[in-house]
């Protein structure tokens, strides 16, 4: 019969034509899909997305703490990026740098959830000498990076910092933490950077549902840009 061939591994209902486009305008129809496969034009699927923005902090009133509360438990790892100037000296004068002091959940004051950290860093003084530090604290990680205020005519007020928590949904494992930061208090000698690892070294805690970034007893600038990202290891 005309139009019928033996040995074909696929067929469609209705008139047969070679597809002319490489992707469908909407959801694939089964006939479109079979035609594309047969024509060797099936669009290769891309790898799944691994990262999504969870929240960008809304900062007002120059708070001491920036808090991400009620963190969804739908990712594998967390990543926080901090950019822009993040310290404000309330009197509007003086020479000040401020460190970032993070903790998980409500550990600050709880006194039972031990943190440990090790880092290499090149600031603050003398600016050209590298240092290392290893420490521990019951309540928080002491300082993952410095920032400047904007009153002293510093050349730079952007101090990019990143902070990551691995396996934050796991309730009964130690949590590994990664951080990296710059300090650009030029023209002062408070110029350098640091990189290190930290951990919440107990297995009795719950999953991480909250992260607090304290500005070392000082104040966050309202223009600071702090974003919480969620990473899905296998992608979505």
């Amino acid at each position: 019969m005309p139009g019928i061939e033996s040995g074909k591994t696929w067929s469609r209902i209705g008139a047969e034509s070679e597809p002319s486009q490489v992707s469908a305008s909407g959801i694939w129809q089964i006939t479109e899909a079979s035609e594309m496969i047969a024509a060797g034009k099936w669009q290769i699927p891309t790898d799944p997305v691994a990262i999504e923005k969870i929240a960008a902090a809304s900062i007002s009133g120059n708070p001491a703490d920036v808090i991400f509360a009620t963190i969804p438990q739908t990712y594998d790892d967390l990543w926080v990026t901090i950019g822009s100037e993040y310290y404000r000296w309330p009197a509007g004068s003086g020479f000040w740098m401020a460190g970032i002091r993070p903790w998980l959940n409500d550990d600050n004051g709880a006194g039972t959830n031990g943190y440990g950290w090790s880092m290499m860093y090149g600031d603050p003084n003398p600016a050209t000498q590298p240092f290392t530090d290893r420490g521990s604290n019951s309540n928080y990680i002491n300082n993952i990076g410095y920032g400047t205020d904007y009153w002293q005519s510093y050349d730079h007020t952007v101090n990019p910092t990143e902070f990551a928590v691995f396996g934050y949904t796991e309730a009964n494992t130690y949590k590994n933490i990664y951080f990296r930061a710059s300090s650009m208090g030029s023209p002062s000698s408070w110029v350098g950077g640091r990189q290190g690892w930290a951990g919440k070294n107990d297995n009795t805690g719950t999953a991480v549902t909250k992260i607090t970034f304290r500005n070392d007893g000082q104040y966050w600038d309202n223009e600071a840009k702090i974003t919480l990202w969620g990473i899905t290891r296998a992608g979505k």
Binding site: T46, D76, S118, T132, N176, W197, N203
Partner: protein, 200 residues
Amino acid sequence: MSDFRTLAYTQLASDTASIVFGGLDVTPYSVLEIHAELKTDRASNTWDAFTLTPSSGIGVTSGDGGTANTAVAYSSGNSYPGAIWANALGNAQNAIVGICAGNSMSGLADRSGMPARILVFNPVKELKSTERDITVYAESTGGYGSTIGESAYDQDVYRTVNNWPGRTDASITSLTFASYYSANFLTGSWVAIYGYYGGD
């Protein structure tokens, strides 16, 4: 649409000597980023080291593109406070990339491993390039803090750069992680391979 995408991920359900990712299509990616938490049954120490072997690129000792090189820097937080250490490891083809947890580390059963972040540059064959080095930049740790710091060699903050030249080598199609001391990666260890997507 995010351009930070997942190429492969595994979390070990049983102890294994090596973790192999095969069938990778790295063509759309300019850089691969790898996150991992690894622990091994190396019983003689709190830490182990691991190697990363790509399917192409590391077999070159000289000539086309030059000689493979590896360098390492690590901070000392205990015995030698205030010191940064560095070594040039020469042209080892299968060099140490990172540090992971060994069997005698404190709280090992409660850990998914010691963490590492790794960047792999130039995973794709470049036909028109006069130079193409597969370069691996890795940050890892053998322990941190006052109670679990890596005390044997004080490699608390460990950074390596491995450089494998060879412009005509094929694109990477597989990556293999292995214990440097021939131990086994323990159940629960995981590795995720991400890529910076640059398009088809």
